[in-house]
Amino acid sequence: MTMKLPIYLDYHATTPVDPRVVEAMLPYFTQQFGNAASRNHAFGWEAEEAVENARKQVADLIGASAKEVIFTSGATESNNLAIKGVAEMYREKGNHVITCVTEHKAVIDTCKKLEKQGMRVTYLPVQKDGRVNLDELRAAITDKTILITIMTANNEIGVLQPIAGIGAIAKEKGILFHTDAVQAVGKVPVNVNELKVDLLSLSAHKMYGPKGVGALYVRRRNPRVLLSEQISGGGHERGMRSGTLNVPGIVGLGKAAELCRLEMAADTDRLSKLRDRLNAGLHKNLDELYVNGSMEHRLPHSLNISFAYVEGESLLMGINDVAVSSGSACTSASLEPSYVLKALGAGDDLAHSSIRFGLGRWTTEEEVDYVIEKLTNVVRRLREMSPLYEMVKEGVDLSKMQWVTH
C-alpha cells in the first residue's frame, strides 16, 4: 500500500469517524428518524430504543450504569453542565471549587465565570511532569469546597493525572469529583467506580465518533449527584439537559464507545509501540529534544516534544504534509505560547518550540518513519538558520543574555 499524504498526526484535536460507526448511524437519518421523546408511535420507540442501547454502550466503557449517562452536545457542554450545575445546586453547602492550571479552556473559563459570580476557585499548579501534587490538593481543601475538577489526561501533553488518588481524597472529604476525561476515555481504561469519580465528561469525536455529541456521567448512588440544569426545556435526560436528542449522533457515540471497549487493548499496544518508535527515532537523529510531561504517566498515542532553538510555526511550515499542532504563540489565536507548557516551568522558549503528536487508529509505521525523516531534515535546516543554536554551540549561555525586546 502506498502512503497517502498529508499524514494526520493530530488525533488529540479530533479523529475521523470509524466507518463502522457511520454505518451504525445511517439508518437513523432517514428510515428511523423518530424523536426519542415521541412515546405514542413506533418511530419514537425505535429512536428511544437506539438511544438506550447507546447509553448502555457508553456506560459499559466507563464502568457505569446506563441511567448515569446524560447525552450532551460534547465535552465542552458536559464540563459546563458539571461545574456550573454543581456550583448552583450545592451553593448552600459551599462556594469553593478546586481545579488545575493545565485544564482545558472549557473548564478554566467555566471556573472563571463562576469566580465572577462570587465563587472561589483554586487553580492548583502542576509539577514538572505535568501532574498535580496530591498533598497540595489536600492543603487546598476547605470546609467550603464543594467540587474538585481535574482532567484525566491533558490534551496538549497527554499526561495522565493521578485520578484514583484525587478520587480517594474527594471521597474521604465528602467533596464531589468531576473529571474531563475527553482525551482518555476509549484510549485507556477508565472506571468511574474504581477511580471514585462522581462526574465525567466525554466526547464522541475524540474516539472515532461524530462531532457534536458527548456525554456526562452523573453518579446516582454513593452519593446521588444532583445538578442544576443549564439548558431548560422539555425535561429530557432526567431534566438535566433538555433538547430533542441527537439520535444519529448518540447512536454513533454508542457504537464508537463499544468499538473502543473491544479494541482498546490492541490499539494501546500498537500505538504505544509506534509512539515510542517516533520518540526514539527523533532522539537518535537530533540532540536537544525535550519531551514535555511525564513519559510514564501518559496516553499511549501521545507525544509532545520541544525542538530547542527552532520555532514551532516555522517547523510546521517545513512539514506541511504532516498535520500536527504546536504550542508556539504564532500558531495560537491568542498569540500567546501554550499556557500548559508554561505551567510545566520549562521556559517560554521551549513552549515556542513544541510539537504535539497524536497517533491514532489508522497511523502506520511507514507514516511514523516518514515523519521522523522529514522532521529531522527540517530541524537540522532550521537550526543551521538559528542564531540561538549558533550561540549555544559557541558556548554562550542564553539564559544569561540581556535580550532587546520590542
Binding site: 498569540l335 538558520m385 538559528s386 540561538l388
Partner: protein, 143 residues
C-alpha cells in the same frame, strides 16, 4: 494560516543565511528579539571602507516563517546600499513586499530593528576607532 508565495519562497530558499566575522571593524551586528517571545534575529552587514557601501549581509533567525522571510528579504535589500540608504528601509516596505497579514507585522518591525541595530553597531565601531566611546545597541551577555 496561508502564506504568500514570497514568504514561502524565502522560507524554502532563504537568501544569505550565515555569519560574518563579528569582531571585524567593518562588520555591524544586530541581534534583536528574545527567545521567550518566539523570535530572535541576527543580522550582519559588511561595509566597504572605501565606498561606504554594504558589500555583504547575512542573517540567522529563530522565528516563524514570516520572521525568516522578513530577515532574508532585508539582507537582499541591504546589499549594495549605503549605510544611510539602509536606515531608510521601513518595516512597511517589508510588509508590502511579502504581503504579511496584520498578525505578522511584528516580524517586519523586528527586521527593521535588526537593520538599525546592525548599522548602529557598525557606526559605534567606527567611532570607537576614532576614540569616541560607544554605547551598545544590541543584545549582549550580562556583565
Amino acid at each position: 494560516m496561508a502564506y504568500s508565495n514570497k514568504v514561502i519562497d524565502h522560507y524554502e530558499n532563504p537568501r544569505n543565511v550565515g555569519s560574518l566575522p563579528k569582531d571585524s571593524t567593518h562588520v555591524g551586528t544586530g541581534l534583536v528579539g528574545a527567545p521567550e517571545c518566539g523570535d530572535v534575529m541576527k543580522l550582519q552587514v559588511l561595509v566597504n571602507p572605501e565606498t561606504g557601501i554594504i558589500d555583504d549581509a547575512k542573517f540567522k533567525t529563530f522565528g516563524c516563517g514570516s520572521a525568516i522571510a522578513s530577515s532574508s528579504l532585508a539582507t537582499e535589500w541591504l546589499k549594495g546600499k549605503t549605510v544611510d540608504q539602509a536606515l531608510a528601509i521601513k518595516n512597511t516596505d517589508i510588509v508590502a513586499e511579502l504581503s504579511l497579514p496584520p498578525v505578522k507585522i511584528h516580524c517586519s518591525v523586528l527586521a527593521e530593528d535588526a537593520i538599525k541595530a546592525a548599522i548602529a553597531d557598525y557606526k559605534s565601531k567606527q567611532e570607537k576607532d576614532k576614540g569616541v566611546p560607544a554605547t551598545a545597541t544590541h543584545a549582549q551577555p550580562n556583565a
